[in-house]
Symmetry: C2
Subunit: 361 residues, 2 copies
């Protein structure tokens, strides 16, 4: 005979991803019954919109089915009444409902630069980190917004592991050894290798919160590290954050160039100016004989840049030392004249006017 | 004085992304009025779910606001009645509603292997292509489903550029020189570097069509090339395609390992078995002095694999020759004993039973 407590206990591991509380605590489980190994209940959700609903229902079913003696689970779904919703929102998010995006109004961010590629693994994140480090060395006030929600690597590079403090008006960014402010989903996860299995709307919501609900304060430059692709994350950054420009990153492979051109087309469609192109991983220098090896083939940077009408700002090598420092959280110790020269060019070319977001937060 | 025709004309450029027809043609615009430069109308949608709704409303507003003499736009939204919806579905998708995923019922696919990483740029696509080539050389009937909708690189590697033919029951896959069947969004684009700026639901829809509406025919193995991340594409593949297993790909950087562990966690959560781990880009051999250079640092494969309880099936080098062949569409000419040995292991370890999709197409 199944005890109600046992079932509720199993269900309390199912978390509403939007509200970030479990469904039992939120009062979402109603009319719970168990008879002959068949468990039935009503799940009252705040929305019947698809991706959220599917996930919660599937997880609730799985959690109960895993219990000994359960043969079947019957779940009815209904949308909460406006009164029920109001009670939950009041309980869960009082500051945000009262003053949406309040932090954004207190922030003074001079310029926002997005680092984008379209292609994965060309070193966007390490380049975003290196630009931030180089800007910081020049005395700039710098932030890094990690918009890669499913593959965030910025905190690891800076050796940041602690959850960021929450202040009265919003979340405070973490701060690196040299004073760079950082916000990333990985700072908010219990384990850094926990998966964030979210569909687009949640990805977009997280990015909008990193912009609107984080107390960045006064910054000269905010660097936004974009994930690969031209879907939700890139769309949300381009549509809801007032960007000053985009720095495109590619690798020498022509295949990478093709995908990078897709990213450039997207920036054009959304009217965000491209500052220039960086060819990363251009070569590696043999530590034994000094030979320059073009591991991804000869440079294709000009072939990619010319049709887009943008300049090639740097060709950077693959450097095992950088990989080592990034892995051990010490990217701030890396020094490179090439990166400093690139930073200078980016500062000169990054427009002072901001693009106007279509859907501002 | 604004003419109704002018407003409807502007609105006819707003397309419902799900139905792929414009909102005027679909009868979604109702109660249109224009007075003193203020245009008001009701938008009747098939769903009030978030991402779709926001996009259509914003586009409709923008289209009308762009007209001379329009000061403001007031849009009311309502969900269509079941009768209205039935009429629209009958009008838009008669064949699909009558026989959903008809091609899927004609296909006989023995085993489906997804190549996944979580991390971008570790060589998932080239590995997926090489596995297909190696399987084909053993006489297997092989297909490659390119699930990377925003950064598809499979067609380029095989030198495929022509749009695939459409048959009476579905789309026919393209066929490579050695007879590998391929489906990819890039085969359907007018230009291979055109951007696919789609939010999650469209990404998922495309992948489901590549599974259910493509006439794969009889295959021994279908290789699915996943994009980076653990969001819509990966979720859709794991939730709607009956997979036999996942091959994980990593690079030696510990940072990559962290993101790959996220992908492994996702596979666990969704109960899809992992066949093993491949460490790609493990080293490059200096062409001048023969030195093995570990460009991304020393191997981390065991540290990644052991906690996951999976074997390391191969450590593959970075090979400029492979990059060159992929760029020029001749991946089928690449030969590697390491890849053949990996293929043998994958064939042995890939389960013959399929996972049961939560939300089958």
């Amino acid at each position: 005979m199944l005890a109600e407590r046992e079932i509720l206990n199993a269900l309390s591991r199912v978390v509403d991803p939007e509200l970030r509380r479990n469904v039992v605590e939120l009062g979402m489980i109603q009319d719970l019954r168990a008879e002959d190994g068949v468990v039935s209940f009503t799940l009252a959700l705040t929305t019947l919109a698809c991706p959220l609903r599917e996930g919660i229902v599937a997880e609730a079913r799985k959690a109960v089915l895993a219990l000994d003696g359960v043969r079947d689970v019957q779940i009815s779904i209904r949308e909460m009444t406006p009164e029920e919703k109001a009670r939950i929102w009041a309980q869960v998010q009082p500051p945000r409902q009262q003053e949406p995006g309040v932090a954004a109004h207190l922030n003074h961010i001079d310029r926002v630069l997005a680092v984008m590629s379209g292609k994965g693994g060309v070193g966007k994140s390490s380049l975003a980190a290196l630009l931030a480090v180089s800007l910081r060395r020049r005395g700039k006030r710098v932030g890094v917004l990690d918009a890669d929600i499913t593959g965030p690597s910025i905190p690891r590079m800076f050796g940041l592991h602690e959850p960021p403090p929450v202040g009265p008006v919003g979340i405070l960014p973490a701060e690196t050894a040299t004073g760079i402010r950082v916000m990333s989903i990985n700072l908010l996860l219990p384990e850094e290798d926990e998966a964030v299995i979210w569909r687009g709307p949640l990805i977009s919501g997280a990015i909008q919160q990193f912009w609107g609900d984080v107390v960045w304060g006064d910054l000269d430059v905010l660097v936004v590290d974009l994930p690969p692709g031209t879907s939700d994350a890139a769309l949300t950054v381009m549509q809801s954050i007032p960007l000053n420009g985009i720095l495109l990153v590619t690798s020498p492979q022509d295949l990478a160039g093709m995908v990078v051109r897709k990213a450039a087309r997207m920036a054009e469609h959304l009217s965000v100016p491209i500052v220039g192109l960086v060819e990363n991983m251009a070569y590696v220098t043999c530590p034994k004989c000094g030979e320059r090896i073009e591991v991804f083939g000869p440079s294709q940077a000009q072939q990619t840049a010319i049709p887009l009408g943008i300049p090639v700002l740097a060709r950077l090598p693959l450097d095992p030392e950088l990989a080592r420092l990034c892995d051990s959280g010490r990217v701030e110790q890396y020094a490179s004249g090439d990166v400093d020269a690139l930073t200078e060019k980016v500062l000169q070319r990054l427009p002072t006017t901001k693009s106007v977001p279509l859907f501002p937060r």
